[in-house]
Symmetry: C2
DNA sequence: TCTCGTATCATTAATATGATAAAATCCGCC
DNA sequence: GGCGGATTTTATCATATTAATGATACGAGA
C-alpha cells in the first residue's frame, strides 16, 4: 500500500515512489527490480495501475522491460536527466555535490546566453517581469518578500525573456536546483544571500538592450555560485577538475 | 490499425504515431483529441495498450487526462522539448527553421563549455575517441567513411569527454539535430561540408589540455552553423532578432 | 561419446476484455 | 440561483489469452 494523498491518483503515486527508489539506487544486482506480480503485491495495486506506472518510468528512460526477462533499471546513461521529475528526485532525494556542480555547469552555459538573447529579444512584458523580480528581491532584503522565491523569479524571468523554448524548459529545472542549492549553500559558513546589486546589473543590461554586458554579468554570478559549490566539495575527487573548469571560462570572456 | 513493424510492440507503435500527430499539430479546438474509446477503435487496439501509450505521452508532457473531461494535448510550454523522442519527432516531422535555430543556440551555449571541460577532465580513452572521430572525418573526406556520421561522432565524443552527465544527455539530441541540420543545410547553395580543419583545432586543444582554445574554436564552429541557418531563415519574422543574437555573442569573446 | 541443431517447455511481459469506481460536468428540479 | 442526481469519461480492478524469449531436454549425425 502507498499513501495516495501525495500526488493524486494511484498510478502517479506509484510513479513517484518507484522513481525515487530507482534514482536513489535501491535496486541493483543484489536487489534486482521485482517482477510485475511482485510489485502488484507490494503496492496492493492492480496490474493495470502498476503497469501504467512502469510505462511512464519507461518513457523517462528509467526502466526497460521484456518478456521472460522481467523489468530492469536502465543504466544511468539512459535516464532522461533533463526530465523535471527525474532531476527533482535526484536533487531532493539523493544529494550529491557532483550532480549539483554538473547542473550548475549547465546553468553556467545557458543563462549568460539567455541573458544576451533577452537583451535583444525581450518584449516590454518580459522586461517588466525581469524588473519586477528585482523589485521583489529588494523587498526581500527589507524582509517583505521571500528571498528564495524572488531569486528564483529573477532567473525564470530571464530564461523566459530569451524567447528560446529550450531555455524556457530549464525554468522548472532551475527552480528545483535553486531551491535545493540555496538550502545547501545556506549550510555553508560565510555565505551571503544573493546580492541584489549583482542581479540588478544583469537586469539593467537586459532592459538597456546590452547583450554582452548582460551575459557577462550573469556569467559572473553563476560562476560565483559554482565556485561556492566547488569549494565545499572538499575531499571529493572531482574537486580539482572543477576548479580548473572554472579557469577555463575566464579567457573566453577576457 | 497501425503498421506494427515500426517500433516493435503495439504500445510503442501507438506512442510514435500519436506523438508525431500531436507535435505536428493534428489536434486543436476544431479537432480535439479523441476519447479513449474512439482511439481504441481508431487503432484497433485494446484499451490496455492504448492507455499505456497515452500514459507514456503523458509522462513526456504531451498529454493530460481527467475523468469526464477526456484526454487533451497540453500547451506546448509543458512539452518536454529535451526528450529525445519529442525533439526527434519535431525535427523530423515538423520542420521549422525557428526550432532548429533555437536548438542550435542550445548547442552554442553548451558545446564550447563542454570542449573546455573536456580539455581538463577527459581521460585517455575520451581523448582517443575525439581523435578517432577526426580520423573518421579525414577518411570521409577521402570518401572512405560517412561524412555525416563522422561529424556526429566528433560532437558526441566531445560531449562525452566533458564528463558532465547533462552534457552527455545532449548527445542523442545533437545526433538528431545534426542529422537533420545537415540534410537541411545541404539544400542551401554554396554550403561546404564541415571543415576537418576547424574540427581538428578543437580536438587539438582538447588533447593538449587547453580549455580556452577548445571553447573558442568550438564556439566559432557552431556560431558559423547558426549563422548559416539564420541567413536562410529569409522572410521569417525571427530573422532580425537572430542576427542580433549572433552579434550578442561576439563582444563576450572579443 | 560428443556436438550441434531442434523441439518442447516454462517464465514473464504484452494484449485483450469486461466490469466497477471515482471524478467532473451537465441538466433539471425545487 | 443553488442543489442533487444523471451522465460521461477516465481510473482502477480482475482475469484470461497471447507472444516473446530464454532454458532445457532430446535426438540425429559425426
Amino acid at each position: 500500500m502507498i499513501s495516495r494523498s501525495l500526488g493524486q491518483n494511484l498510478t502517479n503515486s506509484i510513479v513517484q515512489d518507484l522513481g525515487v527508489a530507482i534514482v536513489t539506487g535501491t535496486y541493483s544486482d543484489q536487489n534486482p527490480f521485482p517482477v510485475e506480480a511482485q510489485l502488484c503485491r507490494q503496492y496492493g495495486a492492480s496490474r493495470t495501475a502498476l503497469r501504467e506506472a512502469v510505462k511512464m518510468l519507461t518513457a523517462k528512460g528509467l526502466l526497460g522491460a521484456r518478456p521472460r526477462q522481467g523489468t530492469w533499471v536502465q543504466p544511468e546513461s539512459k535516464w532522461n536527466l533533463l526530465d523535471p521529475d527525474i532531476l527533482g528526485w535526484l536533487l531532493e532525494r539523493k544529494f550529491s555535490p557532483a550532480l549539483l556542480t554538473e547542473f550548475t555547469e549547465v546553468r553556467l552555459a545557458i543563462e549568460p546566453l539567455a541573458a544576451a538573447l533577452a537583451a535583444t529579444a525581450a518584449g516590454p512584458a518580459e522586461k517588466a517581469a525581469v524588473r519586477d523580480a528585482i523589485e521583489r528581491m529588494r523587498a526581500a532584503e527589507r524582509g517583505e518578500d521571500d528571498p528564495l522565491a524572488s531569486d528564483i523569479a529573477f532567473h525564470v524571468a530571464v530564461l523566459r525573456a530569451s524567447k528560446n523554448r529550450f531555455y524556457a524548459q530549464l525554468t522548472e529545472l532551475t527552480t528545483s536546483a535553486l531551491r535545493f542549492s540555496i538550502r545547501t549553500t545556506n549550510r555553508y559558513k560565510g555565505v551571503k544571500l544573493a546580492s541584489v546589486a549583482d542581479h540588478k546589473r544583469v537586469a539593467d543590461a537586459i532592459v538597456a538592450g546590452r547583450p554582452a554586458a548582460a551575459a557577462e554579468a550573469m556569467r559572473r554570478m553563476i560562476q560565483e555560485a559554482l565556485d561556492l559549490i566547488v569549494s565545499h566539495e572538499a575531499g571529493t575527487p572531482a574537486r580539482r577538475r572543477r576548479s580548473i573548469a572554472r579557469r577555463a571560462r575566464t579567457p573566453a570572456a577576457a
